[in-house]
């Protein structure tokens, strides 16, 4: 069902947890299945310095969360905003057709976290 890469990220998820004073937090619920993901980012000089996630969801949701954090750490905000759920899925070597919707979680939560960061920095 899942690729080895998916199972690797599921078994040893990277960057699980939360940040003490994040620059931005994004949380999304998957409208299709009701699963939930929260992402914390720490941004300095327009670059994502640190990132953590927490996910309530299926194997694909956890694996996409994990790889997504790996893919954007050290990237600029603009680069991170270009990440799509398809990029995430293909980085995992693909997802089963009925699991494609799961990969929306990670990309959407990341985008929410960036939006939150932008709002905060505009206000601040």
């Amino acid at each position: 069902m899942y690729t080895e890469k998916v199972m690797d990220h599921f078994t040893n998820p990277r960057n699980v947890g939360q940040l003490e004073n994040p620059s931005g937090v994004g949380e999304v619920g998957n409208p299709t299945c009701g699963d939930i993901m929260r992402i914390y980012i720490d941004v300095k000089d327009n670059v994502i310095q640190d990132i953590k996630f927490k996910t309530f969801g299926c194997g694909a949701a956890i694996a996409t969360s994990s790889i997504c954090t790996e893919m954007v750490i050290g990237k600029t905000i603009e680069e991170a905003l270009e990440l799509t759920n398809k990029d995430v899925a293909s980085a995992l070597g693909g997802l089963p057709a009925n699991k494609m919707h799961c990969s929306n979680l990670a990309a959407d939560a990341l985008h929410e976290a960036i939006k939150d960061y932008k709002n905060k920095s505009e206000q601040g």
């Binding site: 998820p13 699980v16 996910t55 309530f56 969801g57 299926c58 956890i62």
Partner: protein, 386 residues
């Protein structure tokens, strides 16, 4: 690594005696039961012997047993077949909210075709209330279909009482007994049902064969048409190896029923006690009115598929009512019907015991599940660490 199969509700490993019988038929008894010659007569004899064994398991007469390709076909045959057969009498059907899709979906198809459908609710332990059935019955009701044991939460329905209420009003009663046959005593006359579905692969027989019991005199039309097999109610060359194996599985189930039920009830109760000691967990289904093989619990804050994958990595086979495993992306309709929220339904775990499980398996599961639950909770955005 230890391998623990606790998904007997999904399907069971064949009993070694069943494999032996089936291999013998596959190898040596290949005749078509419809043929006139020696090969055919031999096949026919074995077919009818198997019918007798299968009938005995549920206290029926052999001529009331109609072999099908499994539980799904038996359920569809009962519902669509009775609906067609009694079209002139009426177009109202009653079922429950926790039926298997093999019952619910044909009922919904009938609804789309203009039938009235009443779906009875269940209480928080998954039981239909007899008074609800009494109120739902109408002049034009042609069939009541309520399952004997639920496949997800294991709850047993008061079928004898429900069937009596239907009978008083002259309405045919069908029960899906796929999950109860072979696990607890099932007798069509004591239950008072007119139709009953069951399936070989849930009782250590092969996949691809099941049966519908049809009480003599019940009006029902076939779903398919062709040769004269199964007295025209279910045409097609009979699956002889599967049917003979089903017969053997039925004999073994009957022989071992009491001893196995006792043994498995003890294992089940140990599992329930051990798992419900984990914080923020609930048992789904009735505590005592449940089949000896079923354990179903929900863990707050975690999701079922992740749980299954984690257990799989430990060699444990289980299932879940989580949306993420269902294909339909909605959490189990059964768990919602007993009042669980979407979120809690998501975190459900079903362990179903069988003849290959031991005390040792239970120990292993009780050791591993808490570890996995803790790990997943620590990753969950819903879990407030204290």
């Amino acid at each position: 690594m230890q391998q623990v199969y606790m998904d007997h509700g999904a399907t069971t490993p064949l009993h070694p005696e069943v494999i032996a019988v089936m291999t013998d038929v596959l190898t040596n008894h290949y005749g078509n039961p419809s043929s006139v010659h020696a090969w055919g007569r031999d096949a026919k004899k074995r077919l009818e012997e198997a019918r007798t064994s299968v009938a005995k398991l549920i206290g029926a007469q052999p001529e009331e047993i109609f072999f099908t390709s499994g539980g799904t076909e038996a359920d569809n045959m009962a519902i669509l077949g009775v609906a067609k057969g009694l079209e002139k009498k009426g177009k109202h059907i009653i079922t429950s909210a926790i039926e298997h899709h093999a019952v619910l979906y044909p009922c919904e198809v009938l609804k789309k075709a203009g039938y009235d459908l009443t779906i009875l609710p269940v209480d928080d332990q998954g039981r239909v209330r007899p008074e609800d059935l009494a109120l739902a019955l109408r002049e034009d009701t042609v069939l009541v279909s309520i399952m004997h044991a639920n496949n997800e939460i294991g709850t047993l329905q008061p079928i004898a009482e429900l069937a009596r209420i239907a009978k008083e009003r002259g309405v045919l009663f069908h029960t899906d007994a796929v999950q109860s046959v072979g696990k607890i005593p099932v007798n069509v006359n004591e239950l008072g049902v007119d139709l009953l579905s069951f399936s070989a692969h849930k009782i250590y027989g092969p996949k691809g064969v099941g049966a519908l019991y049809i009480r003599r005199g019940s009006r029902i039309l076939p779903l398919t048409h062709g040769g004269g097999q199964e007295r025209r109610r279910r045409p097609g060359t009979e699956n002889l190896p599967g049917i003979v194996a089903f017969g053997k599985a039925a004999e073994i189930a009957q022989r071992d029923l009491t001893a196995e039920a006792d043994r498995l009830t003890k294992l089940r109760d140990r599992l329930i006690d051990g798992l419900t000691a984990i914080p923020e967990v609930r048992l789904n289904g009735h505590r005592t009115e449940r089949i000896p093989t079923n354990v179903n619990v929900s863990f707050r804050y975690i999701e079922g598929e992740s749980l299954l994958l984690s257990l799989d990595l430990k060699g444990i086979a289980a299932s879940s009512g989580s949306a993420c495993t269902s294909g339909s992306l909605d959490p189990s309709h059964v768990l919602l019907a007993i009042g669980l929220s979407h979120e809690i339904a998501h975190g459900s775990l079903r362990l179903t015991l069988g003849r290959i499980n031991t005390e040792d398996d239970v120990d292993y599961v009780l050791r591993e599940v808490p570890v996995v639950v803790e790990r997943l909770r620590s990753m969950s955005p819903l879990y407030n660490q204290k």
